[in-house]
């Protein structure tokens, strides 16, 4: 909320003296800063306020991602000089803020003003990238390699978990045999993209059949019997909103109770 008082009111240096005086006075008060801007462009001001509030919420959630990641770095990289620890953790904190703002901006209308990048903001990737970069600057190469190896193994585990969830959802509809289960897992694993899982979260029923948006049919259909194929039906394409929707992963962070900052990193 502090940053709200810094919000300049558009038009506060234009117009008659009385108008400028009122706008300047309102801008000086945090509570009125946005309202004053409303006089000029209420929709834009409202969007900015929503983004700021949502970014604060995301910042709390993404801090949990950072805590887990710093714990892994500490486990793998061992003792680090105090100055290095502070630089790495600071890079993480900045990345959390950036990821929070990007995700909030995306939620309320696409992208940040002036940012031409239309890619979906994956908060975990933003934070990991910043930590990895800082780590590479602060820590000997072999320890960085060990950390990267751990991250790669975790990514593999998460991919496996997502694939299992997709196949379990199919099984609930198609009564797969254990052999089919294995075969579909292998096929999906070879062609996996994270968006498949995100899309599978939006499965829904149409005329009594569960629809799997974005499911790679070529990985599934060859392993099914004819009656199962008929039961599966068409999958439909995922829309852009589904592809860019990270809310499934973000929502899960709500269930994690943060243990608080590890002073080893921040003292």
């Amino acid at each position: 909320m502090t940053s709200m008082s810094m919000t300049p009111v558009r038009g506060m240096h234009r117009g008659p003296v009385w108008r400028r005086a009122i706008l300047c006075a309102m801008a000086a008060l945090p509570a009125f800063a946005i309202r004053a801007a409303d006089l000029e462009d209420p929709a834009a001001a409202q969007r900015q306020q929503q983004i700021k509030l949502q970014a604060q919420h995301f910042e709390q959630l993404f801090t949990k991602l950072l805590s887990g990641e710093l714990e892994l770095i500490r486990s793998v990289c061992g003792d680090l000089p105090r100055e290095s620890r502070r630089k790495i953790s600071q890079a993480g904190v900045e990345a959390v803020k950036q990821a929070a703002l990007e995700s909030a901006a995306q939620q309320f209308g696409g992208r940040l003003a002036g940012d031409g990048d239309q890619r979906p903001a994956n908060p975990a990737a933003v934070i990991l990238e910043a930590l990895d970069k800082s780590l590479a600057e602060q820590v000997p190469g072999e320890r960085v390699a060990a950390y990267r190896e751990q991250v790669a193994q975790r990514n593999d585990r998460q991919k496996r978990a997502m694939i299992r969830q997709v196949v379990a959802t199919l099984d609930a509809e198609l009564f797969l045999t254990s052999t089919q289960w294995d075969e579909i897992e292998r096929s999906l694993s070879a062609a996996w993209e994270d968006r498949i899982f995100i899309a599978i979260g939006s499965t829904h029923m149409i005329n009594g059949r569960r629809v799997f948006p974005g499911l790679l049919q070529e990985c599934v259909r060859p392993h099914l019997t004819e009656p199962q194929r008929q039961q599966l039906g068409p999958s439909g394409a995922p829309n852009d909103g589904q592809i860019q929707n990270w809310s499934l992963q973000i929502n899960q962070l709500n269930n994690i109770q943060d243990a608080g900052r590890d002073p080893w990193w921040f003292e």
Binding site: L65, Q150, A161, Q165, A168, P227, Q228, Q231, A259
Partner: protein
């Protein structure tokens, strides 16, 4: 004199301004507008009352898989049971006579299930509840319980009460029975691995587990599998991940806590301990919703 008039004018202007600012917005519309406002308010009130009345027939129809078409819903229900028969045939190599018996059992299961559903439909036929009075609220609650039972029956592919499940052991010969038991165990392992992997993903994120730690916790969970009623979990549509995570946390709470604690450091235990507590807190809900089956070893036909 001019000064006095000026002062009076300023005071009058100030009072007028104050009156304008403090005047309620609704008070500004009066006179000829009254009719319009009153009609709009009455319409709004009517709409509100209509929103408080619920036609139960319509609600019940919406629950059926076929969007209200009971014949289509019935066929889809039967088709899913026949998929189970097809799996039996694939795994056990059924003879034609055995296949026919299983298909008959599937049809009887379908008939019995839809007889039960029809009874519930008849119970609420032509009924409308008014949520503005306590009797209507109570009936709405009863309806919701019955509707949930209907949805569960439609979602379940088998279960110990199903005729198809009951006759599997009788119809199969010894070799086929052994094959099917093995298949049931493999399917169950797949389903449990899904629960563990989904839950462990969250633990990985929150605790920063190394691969060695992850594998050690995973092994503890895989060695003590719970029986999960997948159909109950799937009642929540596509958004089942939080429920699966809760089941995994419940499984954590059932592990030897000293053994679990020894696998992580003190900082990680602070967070892992909260997951264990969440798991304990969810226990009653999971059991009440029958997402967890806490009974002895089930028969050969269990899913």
């Amino acid at each position: 004199m001019t000064d006095m008039t000026g002062k009076r004018n300023v005071t009058t202007s100030f009072l007028l301004l104050l009156m304008l600012l403090t005047m309620p917005a609704e008070g500004m519309l009066r006179g000829a507008d009254d009719t319009v406002v009153d009609a709009a308010a009455a319409r709004k009130s009517d709409q509100g009352q209509q929103q408080q009345r619920i036609v139960l027939d319509q609600q019940m129809n919406g629950i059926f898989l076929g969007g209200g078409d009971i014949a289509q819903s019935r066929q889809q229900f039967l088709d899913r049971r026949l998929l189970q028969v097809a799996a039996l045939a694939d795994v056990c190599g059924l003879m034609e006579a055995q296949r026919r018996k299983f298909e008959t059992a599937a049809r009887l299961d379908t008939a019995r299930t839809f007889d039960g559903i029809e009874a519930v439909r008849q119970k609420y036929a032509g009924r409308t509840v008014d949520l503005q009075n306590p009797a209507g609220q109570a009936e709405w609650q009863r309806f919701q319980q019955d509707a949930m039972a209907v949805r569960t029956r439609l979602q379940e592919t088998g279960g110990p009460e199903s005729l198809l499940e009951k006759v599997i052991a009788q119809i199969l010969d010894d070799g086929q029975r052994a094959d099917w038991r093995r298949e049931v165990e493999l399917r169950r392992r797949h389903q449990w691995q899904n629960v563990v992997d989904t839950g462990m993903s969250q633990f990985d994120t929150a605790l920063g587990l190394t691969t060695a730690q992850h594998e050690a916790v995973e092994k503890l969970l895989m060695d003590k599998p719970l029986r999960v009623n997948d159909a109950k979990v799937r009642l929540h549509g596509g958004h089942v991940t939080p429920y699966i995570c809760n089941i995994c946390k419940y499984a954590l709470s059932k592990l030897d806590q000293q053994q679990l604690k020894a696998l992580v450091n003190d900082r990680q235990w602070k967070t892992l301990g909260t997951f264990v507590e969440q798991g304990r807190a969810f226990a009653a809900h999971l059991k009440q919703q029958k997402m967890i089956v806490e009974e002895g070893p089930a028969g050969a036909g269990d899913r």
